[in-house]
């Protein structure tokens, strides 16, 4: 492998890794807040991608310009899911851990079926966007603009999540995470915080979905493969840790890119899984996890 190839592969891994990190950040946020692993996370991303496709198909509006709209849509979806299902799943007396796993899992199957019902099983793609087909040549390393824009937006969204954690709301979020019963005594509405947490988590994966739609096909099963990587990212980084999600996302992006080149593309996930298992042997709670 020449130095140029190595740089090119590393750049590809970096761009993909930032997307993985943002998908995982939403998952990690929800988990950190209320101990719930959202098994429908990939399906929320899939919904965002379909939203982009539908709006683009109807109006020709570029995915980039749809970003605020679709992110808001997903924020609302996240809140509705919390109010309609998760609040109930958290209130059961027995088997709470198992109930939340299978409630979100059932939701995932339902959304997948609904997507197939509405849009059929075939792949769709958004094309002729402002950025498609263009790339930036950085000293011999080609950076495709859709991927580059996606990673910049993901980084910005990550910064946004960190900024939110410094606001009054962020402090309420943190307090609720620390002790979900005590916060009621100081006038924090726990239910509202949880709903906002779901909104933010879904919004984050929505942003990732919008940017991904600029260069990736959309289909009813697109969420599943991304979701698997997202669970691995969160577990590798440590449940509840934002920094962990970022570091693990980047690590996974790189490992995947290099495994695809060194072994073969069909085995690229094996490298990721092997690194993940190896790290867990030494750090059973992930790189930065405390929970």
């Amino acid at each position: 492998m020449t130095l140029e190839t190595i740089l090119q592969v590393a750049a590809g891994g970096l761009l993909m890794g930032l997307i993985y990190a943002l998908v995982a950040a939403g998952l990690s946020l929800i988990f950190g807040l209320m101990d719930v692993v959202n098994f429908a996370h990939g399906e929320l991303m899939m919904l965002a991608m379909y939203a982009v496709f539908v709006i683009w198909d109807a109006s020709g509006l570029d995915p980039m310009l749809q970003l605020p709209l679709v992110a808001a849509l997903l924020f609302g979806t996240g809140m509705v899911i919390y109010r309609g299902m998760i609040a109930r799943a958290l209130s059961v007396q027995f088997n709470r851990g198992m109930v939340q796993i299978f409630v979100t899992f059932g939701l995932a199957i339902f959304i997948r079926g609904a997507a197939q019902f509405v849009w059929g099983g075939e792949f769709r793609a958004v094309n002729n966007t402002l950025l498609s087909g263009r790339s930036w040549n950085l000293g011999g390393v080609y950076l495709p603009l859709p991927q580059l824009a996606a990673s910049v937006v993901c980084l910005a969204a990550f910064a946004g999540l960190l900024l939110i954690s410094r606001t009054e709301f962020g402090k309420a979020l943190e307090a609720t995470r620390e002790d979900r019963d005590a916060v009621a005594l100081i006038g924090i509405d726990r239910d509202r915080i949880f709903a906002m947490g779901w909104g933010l988590g879904a919004g984050a994966v929505g942003i990732a979905g919008v940017m991904l739609a600029g260069f990736y096909y959309v289909g009813p099963n697109v969420g599943a493969s991304f979701a698997l990587i997202a669970y691995v990212t969160v577990a590798l980084g440590g449940f509840g840790s934002m920094l962990g999600a970022l570091v693990a996302g980047l690590l996974i992006g790189e490992v995947e890119a290099f495994t695809a080149v060194i072994l073969e593309p069909s085995l690229k996930q094996i490298g990721v899984f092997a690194v993940y298992l190896a790290v867990l042997m030494f750090r059973p709670r992930g790189l930065f996890g405390k929970l």
Binding site: F102, G106, G113, G120, L228, A235, S266, L280
Partner: protein, 325 residues
């Protein structure tokens, strides 16, 4: 001494024997192939869920990677038959051994993890197995393996077009898993595992060896799952990684136990009796259109049952048994 527990356990055994006789005889009067197929799959998944329940329910280790033991079981008995002419009636015990061994090998590193870390690690291990089998030419890779059709015989466990013998084979499997669970419920293990499930620190202070408890549960659970995989391979006659090792199989193995009642004796059977016919019927009547209605029904049912009966459908019966007559 005839205390409450021994009386209840004897009662359970009687009910099971009655159900077994009914399940042997009743299908003899069913001629419809589709119905027999649904019954066979329901019994198979009842047994698999019972096997999952030993690790996931009694011992509280939520494994989402049982497709690995299931798939390895079907591959072991099939490949032994195809490459070494070992009859499946013997091969399926090799499949059980391999399933149990695989569960021990997975458990050895993964049981250091707890909660969600354990669950996700099992998903990942299952996925690694799936990808490896998909890219491994000796086992047929993505093309899969056909089980050569032989003369119908008990040795080869092939019965041609006749479904009834398959039904009785699967019934025997289901009964064996139930009996294993029943024996476990009466043993010291049951209490040790429950302590591991409910409070690891307290269990350790009582002298329960956490790691070997989990390993014992995993070995039994994996062995029965491998056995079920071997039987499934025989029944469908063709296996490939997608049909026996894909991740959704792990969920399908766990789901009847969860919906029926985790950590209960009757939950897995009840859950499978509800879930599998619903799933099969909706996919054969609605799935053909390819419009995903069957998936929507399946998903909605999981959500509703999990929210409405968090202890599983079995709790409906229990409440009646203990409530005012």
């Amino acid at each position: 001494m005839d205390n409450f527990i021994t009386r209840r356990r004897r009662h359970e055994l009687l009910v099971a024997a009655g159900l077994l006789v009914f399940a042997i005889v009743a299908p003899m009067f069913i001629k419809d192939v589709t119905t027999l197929n649904v019954i066979i799959l329901s019994l198979l998944f009842a047994g698999l869920a019972q096997a999952w329940n030993i690790l996931g329910g009694y011992c509280g280790q939520i494994s989402l990677g049982h497709a690995l033991y299931f798939g390895m079981g079907s591959y072991v008995s099939t490949l032994l038959y195809v490459h070494a002419a070992v009859p499946p009636s013997l091969g399926m015990f090799a499949a059980a051994a391999v399933g149990g061994l695989a569960a021990l090998l997975v458990g050895w590193p993964c049981f250091r993890l707890s909660g969600h870390y354990y669950a996700i690690a099992t998903v990942v291990v299952g996925e690694i197995g799936y990808l490896l089998f998909l890219n491994w030419d000796y086992v047929g890779g993505a093309t899969g393996v056909y089980i050569p059709i032989a003369r119908p015989s008990l040795l080869n466990l092939q019965f041609g077009k006749d479904k009834l013998p398959y039904l009785h084979l699967v019934l025997a499997f289901c009964a064996a898993t139930w009996l294993a669970a029943w024996v476990i419920e009466g043993s010291r293990w049951f209490y040790a595992w429950r302590a591991v499930k409910d409070d690891v620190v307290a269990a350790r202070s009582l002298g329960v060896n956490i790691f070997s408890s989990k390993m014992a549960a995993a070995a039994i659970s994996g062995a029965f799952t491998g056995l079920g995989g071997a039987i499934y391979g025989l029944y469908v006659g063709y296996i490939d990684p997608d049909s026996v090792m894909a991740g959704h199989f792990s969920i399908l193995i766990a789901l009847p136990a969860v919906l029926g009642g985790v950590g209960t004796l009757w939950g897995p059977i009840l859950g499978a009796a509800l879930l599998i016919p619903m799933k099969e019927l909706s996919s054969s009547y609605l799935g053909g259109s390819g419009r995903g209605v069957d998936l929507m029904l399946y998903g909605a049912m999981i959500v509703i049952v999990a929210l409405a009966q968090p202890q599983g459908v079995v709790s409906l019966f229990r409440r009646r048994a203990h409530g005012p007559a």
